[in-house]
C-alpha cells in the first residue's frame, strides 16, 4: 500500500492508510498536481461528492455519540420526574458506574465472553476449519461449510428459540441426548452456555475469512518447506502464519468488536441467574430500559464506546507495525 511514487507526495499521508491516488493521465495540470486533485473535480464538486457521506456519518455516528455524551451528564430517566425535567449531574453517572460492583462484574464477564468466544473460540475454530478444508474432500467440505454457515445466517430470534429448546431443563434436547435429568444448563453454567453459543453462531465468519486468507499462501512456499523436511506444524508456524498474520489481526479486531457489543446473550439467559451472565450490553439494557435510568445507561454506553475505541486503536497500531513485513 501507499506507493512512494505517488505524485501527491506533499499530501499528508491519510490516516488509517487510505489508498493514495494512483498516477494517471488525468492528473496532468500543474495545479491539480500541487493540490492532489488528480481527478480534476475542483473543490466544489469534490465537496458535493463527499457531502452525502459526511452527512450520513454526522447524523448516524457523530450526532448519536455526542447525544450520548450529553445524556450521560444528566439524571435523565424513562419515567418519573427525571423524564420531565432532568437535572445536570456532571460526572455523577460515571463515578457511580465505576464504583458499582455490578458494573465491575459485568465488565469482567464481558472480557471473559469476548476472550473465550471470539478471540479464542471463533478464531481458533474458524482457522482450524479453514485449514482442514484445504485437504478435505469436496463433499465433506461442502457439508461442513453449509452447516457452519447456517448457524451464521439464521435470524437471531429463531436461533435463540432453538437454543432454548436445546437447553431446556425439563424437556431439553441436550438433556435427552446425554441422558441427564434436571440439568438447567442456562442456569448452572450461564457463561459457558453463552460462550459456546457465540462460538457456534459466529465461527462462520472467521472460517470464510481464513479460507480466503489461506488461499493466498503460495503453494510454492509450502512445497519448498515440505522438501526441506518441515513437519506440518512447522509449515503452519513458519510459512502459513506469517503470511496470514494480517488477516488474523483484522479478523480478531472485527469479531472482538462485534462480540463486545453483542446483545444475543440476553436472548439465552437474560443476564441471569442473578447477574451471572450479565455482559455490558445486557447491563446497559437492564439499567437504561428496565430500570429507566437513561442517563446512567448513556454514561455506561459511552464507556463501552471508549473501550471499543481502545481495542480498535490497539489493533490498528498492531496492523501498522506489521506493514513492512507484509510488503
Amino acid at each position: 500500500m501507499a506507493p512512494s511514487t505517488s505524485p501527491a507526495a506533499d499530501l499528508a499521508p491519510a490516516p488509517g492508510g487510505a489508498p493514495a491516488p494512483a498516477p494517471g493521465p488525468v492528473a496532468t495540470t500543474p495545479r491539480a498536481r500541487r493540490d492532489g486533485d488528480v481527478v480534476g473535480l475542483g473543490r466544489a464538486r469534490a465537496v458535493a461528492f463527499v457531502a452525502p457521506a459526511l452527512v450520513l456519518v454526522g447524523v448516524f455516528l457523530v450526532f448519536p455519540a455526542a447525544w450520548t455524551l450529553y445524556l450521560g451528564l444528566l439524571d435523565y430517566s424513562l419515567t418519573g420526574s427525571g423524564a420531565q425535567a432532568p437535572v445536570f449531574v456532571g460526572l455523577g453517572n460515571y463515578t457511580s458506574a465505576l464504583s458499582d460492583p455490578a458494573f465491575a462484574k459485568s465488565l469482567y464477564l464481558t472480557l471473559l465472553f469476548v476472550g473465550g468466544s471470539a478471540v479464542l473460540g471463533q478464531n481458533v475454530l474458524g482457522f482450524s476449519l479453514a485449514w482442514y478444508f484445504r485437504a478435505a474432500q469436496r463433499p465433506v467440505r461442502a457439508t461442513l461449510s453449509v452447516l457452519v454457515l447456517l448457524a451464521w445466517i439464521l435470524p437471531g430470534s429463531v436461533v435463540a428459540f432453538l437454543w432454548q429448546a436445546l437447553l431446556d431443563r425439563r424437556n431439553g434436547t441436550l438433556n435427552a441426548l446425554i441422558g441427564t435429568t434436571d440439568m438447567a444448563w442456562a442456569l448452572d453454567h450461564p457463561m459457558a452456555v453463552i460462550i459456546v453459543f457465540n462460538i457456534w453462531r459466529g465461527t462462520a465468519f472467521s472460517m470464510l475469512l481464513y479460507t480466503a486468507a489461506l488461499s493466498t499462501v503460495p503453494r510454492s512456499h509450502l512445497e519448498v518447506a515440505r522438501m526441506a523436511g518441515a513437519t506440518r506444524w512447522q509449515q503452519l508456524r513458519d510459512v502459513v502464519l506469517p503470511t496470514v498474520k494480517r488477516h488474523i489481526l483484522t479478523n480478531t479486531l472485527l469479531i472482538t468488536l462485534w462480540t463486545f457489543n453483542d446483545f444475543s446473550p440476553y436472548l439465552l439467559t437474560g443476564g441471569g441467574p442473578n447477574r451471572e451472565s450479565e455482559v455490558l450490553p445486557v447491563y446497559i439494557y437492564k439499567e437504561a430500559i428496565i430500570g429507566g435510568h437513561l442517563g446512567y445507561g448513556s454514561a455506561i454506553s459511552l464507556l463501552l464506546l471508549l473501550a471499543n475505541l481502545v481495542i480498535a486503536v490497539v489493533y490498528v497500531r498492531l496492523l501498522r507495525t506489521r506493514e513492512p513485513e507484509a510488503a
Binding site: R43, V62, F63, G80, N274
Partner: protein, 475 residues
C-alpha cells in the same frame, strides 16, 4: 484540494449535534391538550392497546375488545352519524416489557389513544408527563359520568395520583395462597387448609416434600419474575410482619429493618431448605414454568393473585391454552395469606394481602379526546363489563356488575368478601418501580444463597440510592 481535517469534522459534527439536541425533557411540560379538538369530527380513528392477544395472553379480554367493545362502539357512533374506525393493538408479553413499550411510545408522542395500564405505574407515568388528569385531556365530561357511583373509592384510588383521576379502573384483585388438594391429600394435609402463621406454611411444605417429583412451595422471588415477586411474594409477607413498605406519615421506606430481614429469612427457609425450587425463580421464563407446573400438579402451594385463577388455570382450553386445568374447581384450593404470627400483620391483622388494579388510561396526545373518553365510558359501562365477566369472570370495578356475577365464582366471591377488606395497597409513588427492583434483587440474592442480613444490607444501599437516605427507615 485539501479535505477538511478530522478535527474540523469532529468539531462541526459536535456543533451540529448540540444544535440538534437542544435540551431533553422540557418540551412535554409546555404543550397543552385541547379537550375540544375534533369534538365534532365525522370520521374518527381510535386505537386501543392492552397486554392481551387473541389466542394468547389474556385471550378472553382480547376477544372482548375485538368482538364486543369495538363493534358496539362503532355501532353507537354510527347511530350518531359518526364513522368510527377503532383498531385493537394487542401484545402478549411480560408486563415489564409491555410497560417499557408503553413508556417509549408515550415518550415519543405516539402510542394508542386508549391503553391498559397497571395502576401502580401511574406515579411514574404522571410525573413524567406521559399521562394527564382526565379533566385536563377531556374537560368536564368525565366528572359527570354516572359510572363513578358504582366504583368504590378504594378502587378509584388505583387510578388516582395526587388527588386527580387519570383513567377508568377496570377492576381490582387480591392475592391468596393456592394449593393442590390432590397433593395435600397424599401428604396427609387437610382439604380446608388455612395456615395462621408462616411456620404453618413451612410445616405444610415439609409434609409435601415427602412426595416425589413435587415442589412443595413456590413464592415468587427474583428479578425475572418482576413485579410478581414484589406483589405476590415480598409485600404480602412484609405486611405480615406488621409494618407496610412505605410509611405515609413519615414518608419513609423500610430499609434494613427487622421486618425486611424476617421476610428474607423466610425466603431463605423456603429456597435454601429445599421447600421451593430456587432455579425456577432464576429462570427467565420462571413464572410461566411455575404456571405450567402448578397446572400439571407438580407444585403444592403457590402464592398468586386472582389473575392466576381466572386467566391461567381456568378450565377452558380456548382461554387458558396449555395451562388450563379442566378439573380446577375440584383440585385447587385457596387460603388467605397469614401474618408472620397471629395478630402480627399490619393493623394487628391475622391475615394480609396486597391488591392493585389496572385500568384504562387516555393518551394526552390523542387527536380525538372526546371520542376516546366516550370509548372508555363505553368499555366501563355496565353492559360491557357484564359482557366481559361472561367471557372471563373477574372482580370488576363496578359494584352493580359484581353483585350479579361474582356469586358464580367461589374464589372471586371469597376474595371480594374475605380478602379485600383486609388487603393493603402499594404506594403510588414515582419511585415505587425502583424500590420494587431493589426488592426483587434482594430476594434474588437470597435465592442465590446469600444470607438475609447481607441481602438486606445491599437492598438498603440500593434503596438509599433510589429515594435518598433521608427517606429510608433503618432497624
Amino acid at each position: 484540494m485539501r479535505l477538511p481535517s478530522r478535527a474540523t469534522l469532529l468539531v462541526s459534527g459536535l456543533a451540529t449535534s448540540v444544535v440538534l439536541s437542544g435540551c431533553v425533557g422540557a418540551k412535554s411540560a409546555e404543550d397543552k391538550s385541547d379537550p375540544k379538538a375534533n369534538a365534532d369530527a365525522k370520521d374518527v380513528t381510535l386505537v386501543i392497546s392492552a397486554n392481551d392477544v387473541v389466542g394468547g395472553k389474556n385471550a378472553a379480554e382480547a376477544s372482548w375488545i375485538t368482538e364486543k367493545v369495538i363493534p358496539g362502539f362503532v355501532k353507537a357512533q354510527k347511530d350518531k352519524g359518526v364513522t368510527a374506525k377503532v383498531t385493537f393493538n394487542g401484545s402478549g408479553v411480560e408486563d415489564e416489557q409491555y410497560k417499557t413499550k408503553l413508556e417509549l411510545n408515550l415518550k415519543t408522542g405516539s402510542g394508542s389513544d386508549v391503553f391498559a395500564a397497571d395502576g401502580i405505574w401511574l406515579g411514574e407515568l404522571a410525573s413524567a408527563g406521559y399521562v394527564k388528569p382526565l379533566k385536563d385531556v377531556v374537560g368536564d365530561k368525565p366528572a359527570s359520568w354516572d359510572g363513578w357511583s358504582q366504583i368504590s373509592k378504594a378502587v378509584q384510588q388505583n387510578l388516582t395520583f395526587k388527588d386527580q383521576l387519570y383513567g377508568v379502573p377496570n377492576g381490582t384483585d387480591g392475592r391468596v395462597l393456592y394449593f393442590n388438594k390432590k397433593l395435600f391429600a397424599q401428604a396427609g394435609l387437610p382439604e380446608s387448609w388455612q395456615p395462621t402463621s408462616w411456620d404453618e406454611i413451612l410445616q405444610a411444605g415439609q409434609a409435601l416434600k415427602k412426595l416425589k417429583g413435587v415442589t412443595p412451595i413456590q413464592i415468587n422471588a427474583g428479578v425475572p419474575m418482576g413485579e410478581a415477586t414484589t406483589a405476590q411474594g415480598f409485600l404480602p409477607l412484609l405486611a405480615g410482619t406488621g409494618k407496610p413498605l412505605y410509611d405515609d406519615g413519615s414518608g419513609s421506606w423500610q430499609g434494613d429493618t427487622q421486618g425486611v430481614k424476617d421476610v428474607l429469612g423466610f425466603y431463605q427457609k423456603l429456597y435454601g431448605g429445599g421447600l421451593g425450587d430456587p432455579r425456577m425463580q432464576q429462570d427467565k421464563a420462571g413464572r410461566d414454568q411455575s404456571f405450567a407446573e402448578f397446572s400439571q400438579g407438580k407444585i403444592g402451594i403457590l402464592a398468586e393473585g386472582d389473575y392466576f385463577w381466572r386467566s391461567v388455570i381456568c378450565p377452558s382450553k380456548a382461554d387458558c391454552a396449555t395451562t388450563s386445568m379442566p378439573d380446577r374447581d375440584k383440585v385447587v384450593g385457596w387460603a388467605k395469606i397469614p401474618a408472620q404470627k397471629p395478630k402480627g400483620g399490619v393493623n394487628g391483622q391475622d391475615f394480609v394481602s396486597v391488591s392493585g388494579g389496572s385500568g384504562w388510561m387516555l393518551n394526552p396526545k390523542t387527536k380525538y379526546p372526546q371520542q376516546a373518553w366516550e370509548l372508555m365510558e363505553f368499555m366501563a359501562s355496565k353492559e360491557m363489563q357484564t359482557e366481559l365477566s361472561k367471557a372471563q369472570i373477574r372482580i370488576s370495578a363496578r359494584g352493580d356488575v359484581n353483585n350479579e356475577t361474582l356469586k358464580n365464582d367461589p374464589l372471586l366471591s371469597f376474595i371480594s368478601s374475605e380478602v379485600l377488606p383486609l388487603t393493603t395497597y402499594r404506594p403510588s409513588d414515582e419511585k415505587y418501580n425502583e424500590v420494587s427492583l431493589a426488592i426483587q434483587q434482594a430476594t434474588a440474592d437470597v435465592v442465590a444463597g446469600k444470607s438475609p442480613d447481607e441481602a438486606a444490607k445491599t437492598y438498603s444501599t440500593s434503596l438509599e440510592k433510589a429515594v435518598g437516605a433521608e427517606h429510608v427507615a433503618g432497624s
